[in-house]
Subunit: 409 residues, 2 copies
Amino acid sequence: MEPGPPGCSRPAEPGPRLRRLCGADQEASVALLSRARAEAELQRCVPAVAAVLPAGGSGERMGVPTPKQFCPILDRPLISYTLQALERVCWIKDIVVAVTRENMETMKGIIQRYQHQRISLVEAGVTRHRSIFSGLKALAQDQPDSQLSKPEVVIIHDAVRPFVEEDVLLKVVTAAKEHGAAGAIRPLVSTVICPSADGCLDQSLERARHRASEMPQAFLFDVIYEAYQQCSDYDLEFGTECLHLALKYCHIKAKLVEGSPDLWKVTYKRDLYAAESIIKERISQQICMVMDTKEDEELVGHRLEEMLKNEFSHVKVTSGALGHTGRDLQQIILEQCYNFVCVNVGAYEFEETQKLLDVLKESDLSILYPVVVISDEQKLQDSLRQGATIIATLIKERNSGLVGQLLVA
Amino acid sequence: MEPGPPGCSRPAEPGPRLRRLCGADQEASVALLSRARAEAELQRCVPAVAAVLPAGGSGERMGVPTPKQFCPILDRPLISYTLQALERVCWIKDIVVAVTRENMETMKGIIQRYQHQRISLVEAGVTRHRSIFSGLKALAQDQPDSQLSKPEVVIIHDAVRPFVEEDVLLKVVTAAKEHGAAGAIRPLVSTVICPSADGCLDQSLERARHRASEMPQAFLFDVIYEAYQQCSDYDLEFGTECLHLALKYCHIKAKLVEGSPDLWKVTYKRDLYAAESIIKERISQQICMVMDTKEDEELVGHRLEEMLKNEFSHVKVTSGALGHTGRDLQQIILEQCYNFVCVNVGAYEFEETQKLLDVLKESDLSILYPVVVISDEQKLQDSLRQGATIIATLIKERNSGLVGQLLVA
């Protein structure tokens, strides 16, 4: 198979991708639009932006041995989703990730496997602040032989906040350029209290007057680098809040930007569950149903399409692909839809379907390929309804245990 | 079918139950142990305890029209899980739920459908504090004709925290009896900051010195009722924190009790996803595999059991049930296991399996009953492995769209 156009390279496992799924043409035009908009923004406000991701944590709150940034979601490590979210933003020139020495090889493997770009690795420190400082030092070097160049603005983000959107990144960068520092905030979910030494309530804070400080944050590079250079060992050991350093050492009052709920940080095991569900939902919006014949497409395909289009944003029906020369299959693969459903009508002609499965499996696309047989022509309407339920189930659950099963509606 | 013993009544939909799943004998002995322990506790510290659940919220943060306490998780409203968690605690005598007038019928329907007990309904006020006050008033009446009696200690909990455990309830009740008030706390996940009027950073709080105030909380009834009677309209309109009222109006410094991560509040849509995954995990721990013959049980059943027991805490194999007189089926149903898998070996004898499905469907137990056929005797080991994968998938995903499907390993 021909590789895609440059800049559209596809990761080995398309299933868990976060990027909006679309056909090649659409993709190109979206990319162009996004680039045009981004270039306008660049000229206006963001001459040179880099990002630093501290990823040296051990994830002790998760209660699992794997550090949370490396926990798999649909078989792909959490940090890879976060990198993907940053990579989509073309005006972020460099992404510096700080990982511990023992995870360096793991991280290199992730970058290679998921074809991440513009990533530099540095060794993490023993605390969050020390890891960020490592990343900043790498950006500050600005040596002729260094791949990195000193940015005007640096974004600091968490490896475990995979759902960050371009919109909020642009807001914090723009605000940082104006104010020197900026950070995303969210309303408090719980009241914050201050316990006394004996574990009793001393004071409860007025919830409406306070906010949770979230990520991303952005800084004029010179401001935050100066702050880190000046700050005490105590700060580096026990502090966690970059905005606080900018205030304390550079007297910069950060601009606070209201963020959306999806900025949340994967902290506990339940957050992994939530992240998985969100990712599943995002990549389950497109279905391509492949029918045996034009007649089946007319008789069954379009009625199934009707039933399914309330639940999915894109439902497409094609036919004739199974009497294949390789070219028809090639065409299907080029659709770039990650949810294929073969629908056989009336007969268990599993052999042809099996051939399609085999070809899809051999391609490097790892496309999902559940199979549904609408068998009961006597009660077509009921069968169709059950078929639609099965299709929706397969697409949404996305469980490889059922791949290739002959499901009968 | 005979109803279960008193106190062990089963809700219409066993799937989403949180109670530990166990056989009838185990259940009885657990119940006895739990009762004995609870009675000892009662004498020591909890003479009369009631709970108040404000459930009048509109759930605007969820971004869905249904108030979050009524959002379905595996087809069952969230609040029903929370009620179940409180009901399990036998020393909580009354549970007063405050719901808005328009949701009163919905709530009555939920209580009936899931056979909730010890529940009284009161009309919610327009704010959280007013709803709690309604609940307290109902408990304070203590009229001869009232079903409720004034408790010594009252627990206040949220309808949207379904995973509360008896352990933390007992801790707050015990602490409230000693200190007058007590509440669960958790470490802060994010730094809390105080924005200035122009939306810039004024001050960031030291994260280690502060805590998030969570639920449950407990109070000597007289303390919290006094506080609500004295508090201002402003408090009732804009306040949210009961511990604060006890401090302000009764000078009671609440004892703060460290809670576990599962006390978290379902606030955003992602929390519903997380809750669903947690509930699925809890109710997917037991499998009962039903085989056609004793030979199949020996040949296939016990090998599947081996493969599955790493993933599930309870795997059981039975056979012979499909040559049924009704008595065999009765026996299977009495196992009280919610995950049945029929395993046919070598042949597609779907008819017998279908009979079992029908009987299970007709019983009021709504048991799940995926079906697996181990068909390929040539490559038994491979088939078994694939069969185990399919079984694990079905049990864990728990999607009714696949019920009754003939799945071939």
